[in-house]
């Protein structure tokens, strides 16, 4: 049996990135993040980060970019030059812009940035997203006590990332996990986490032969899917980010079968 299609080397790189992010997060001054829980806003599906005052430490941000650059260069030495170019381009103003755009997940901005500077398209957004996450994760940590449920269709209640990963935990509870900010919240077992559909006739499961701990929940109403992993079967529970990566084949299966990671919202009128 083989659980993941991701190469060991890439898994190792991701693990190193995650532990780097963990280090960064613990080095952050918690007072720089002041979340505000607005119940009314949360009930209408506005993610917590939208109401959170984050005081970004720009020099630290640039230091992190250097750290991640070094790590990447260990794996691909030819990246060293590109990272140097990026470091040269990032003055305080550009760094602030990067943070804003990474927050908004503005891939168009990053793609055009890469094109202008003639660097590989994936690099700017990858780096910006990687160094933004510790802030999101610290926000999630601070508000986790307030997060029980999410508004269907609004994505992660903390950072707004589309829902795609759930774990079955003690007592068989379905707990949705955000691989981006690591927030988690509950949902009913037979409920589409994208549109809230509870009709058992239209909520199905795709099971893959040989996968004893994973299922894909799909909804015929909104065509959304959620990977549901029974992590009770694991010896050591992986972090949601690694779990998301190692089950990437399930995303392929779901998408090849016509389902999407963000369900379609139906026009009510």
């Amino acid at each position: 049996m083989k659980k993941s299609v991701v190469s060991k080397e890439y898994q190792k790189l991701q693990k190193e990135i995650i532990s780097l992010q963990e280090q960064w997060k613990t080095s952050l001054d918690p007072d720089r993040i002041l979340p505000r829980i607005d119940k009314a806003a949360m009930e209408s599906g506005v993610p917590v980060v939208a109401w959170t005052a984050i005081d970004f430490d720009i020099p630290l941000f640039l230091q992190w970019i250097e750290d991640i650059g070094k790590l990447l260069a260990n794996y691909q030495p030819e990246l060293e030059k590109t990272i140097e170019t990026i470091k040269g381009l990032l003055d305080e103003e550009t760094a602030k812009r990067w943070i804003d755009e990474a927050f908004a997940f503005n891939h168009i901005y990053f793609a055009s940035f890469a094109e202008e500077q003639e660097i590989d398209g994936w690099i700017p957004q990858f780096i910006a997203e990687t160094v933004l996450r510790p802030y999101l994760q610290l926000t999630a940590e601070k508000v986790q006590g307030e997060i029980q449920y999410a508004v269907h269709g609004a994505g992660c209640p903390v950072c707004g990332e589309p829902v795609r990963l759930a774990q079955l935990e003690d007592g068989g509870k379905k707990v949705l996990h955000c691989p981006r900010c690591l927030a988690h919240w509950h949902d009913k077992r037979i409920t589409c986490s994208h549109c809230g559909n509870e009709d058992h006739e239209t909520v199905h499961f795709l099971t893959i032969e040989g996968e004893s701990a994973a299922q894909i929940q799909v909804c015929e109403e909104c065509k959304g899917y959620t990977k549901i992993i029974d992590t009770r079967q694991y010896i050591v529970k992986p972090t949601p980010a690694m779990l998301d990566l190692n089950t990437i084949h399930l995303d392929f299966v779901a998408q090849e079968n016509g389902y999407k990671s963000a369900g379609e919202t139906k026009q009510t009128n």
Binding site: S212, D230, Q233, I235
Partner: protein
């Protein structure tokens, strides 16, 4: 994956005898069903077999107060630290895995059955198969602790299916702590309760909290690697190898001397030949 020493902890006092562990084992390991005659109790098989790697034993026991206790035990391979089966295996088919468990390499196994004879718990059994020519051959079979699952960071199938949490899987240290804690909780209800992790085989990788003495469950009180196995593997085999060395030396010696004294030898033979006539 950094390999730690893992242990399966079975708390028989939590078991309700549902036999889901047996089903999970058959299912995961793709083992065929074995029609069994009525055993005279709810128990399905008398003991583990080559195709039934774990059996739930049901024991009717009269306790100290004269009351009936209905005792259940998930029984499968103990995965001894000092395993007799590994010791006696002449082909190194029985081996320790990186997790400390004991597994059979079916490619190496020749079906000699030494492991079956020497297992102190009667766990290892021989399965009979037929090759394409219809010729029968045998292989040792037993619980693998779902080593294929462990390699992927997952718990054994029997453990994951247990709905009363009578079975748990984790690092040796953590499981032993849990066992101690559980023992202190049940001592009042079961005065003879004990942790079964026999030292005679160097400790096991399936440890039990038993409600009664091991003999009540049909387990040896003090199992150990049979002396014959030790004599065989630690003394006889090395001596055998040494003897083989001596024989080879003698052969080489004989060859050299023959070469050196070839002429003389030949003469001698011719002489001898002549003597017959």
């Amino acid at each position: 994956m950094a390999t730690a020493e893992y242990v399966k902890f079975v708390d028989v006092t939590k078991c309700d005898g549902c036999r889901a562990c047996m089903v999970a084992c058959k299912n995961w390991n793709d083992l065929p069903a074995e029609p069994e005659a009525f055993q005279g109790s709810v128990q399905s098989h008398a003991n583990v077999t080559a195709n039934t790697w774990n059996v739930l034993s049901f024991i009717e026991h009269e306790n100290g107060q004269g009351n009936l206790e209905y005792l259940f035990r998930h029984s499968s391979c103990f995965h001894c630290t000092d395993a007799a089966c590994v010791k006696v295996c002449p082909e190194d088919a029985m081996h320790y895995t990186e997790f400390g468990t004991v597994d059979v390499d079916s490619d190496k196994c020749v079906g000699c059955g030494y492991c079956v004879q020497n297992c102190p718990f009667d766990v290892v059994q021989l399965a009979t198969y037929k090759d394409t020519n219809g010729k029968e051959y045998k292989k040792a079979q037993k619980c693998t602790m779902c080593v294929d699952r462990l390699e992927e960071g997952m718990q054994p199938a029997c453990v994951t299916t247990c709905h009363t949490d009578a079975m748990e899987f984790g690092t040796k240290e953590e499981m032993l702590k849990k066992a101690e804690k559980r023992l202190s909780e049940i001592k009042e209800r079961f005065p003879n309760a004990m942790i079964y992790n026999p030292e005679g085989v160097g400790g096991t990788h399936t440890i039990y909290v038993l409600a009664e003495k091991p003999s009540v469950y049909g387990l040896p009180e003090q199992p150990k690697v049979p002396t014959s196995a030790i004599v065989w593997k630690d003394y006889a085999q090395p001596i055998g190898k040494m003897m083989l060395g001596a024989t080879s030396m003698a052969l080489v010696g004989a060859f050299v001397s023959n070469k050196l004294f070839n002429k003389e030898g030949k003469d001698h033979e011719e002489d001898g030949g002549g003597g017959h006539e």
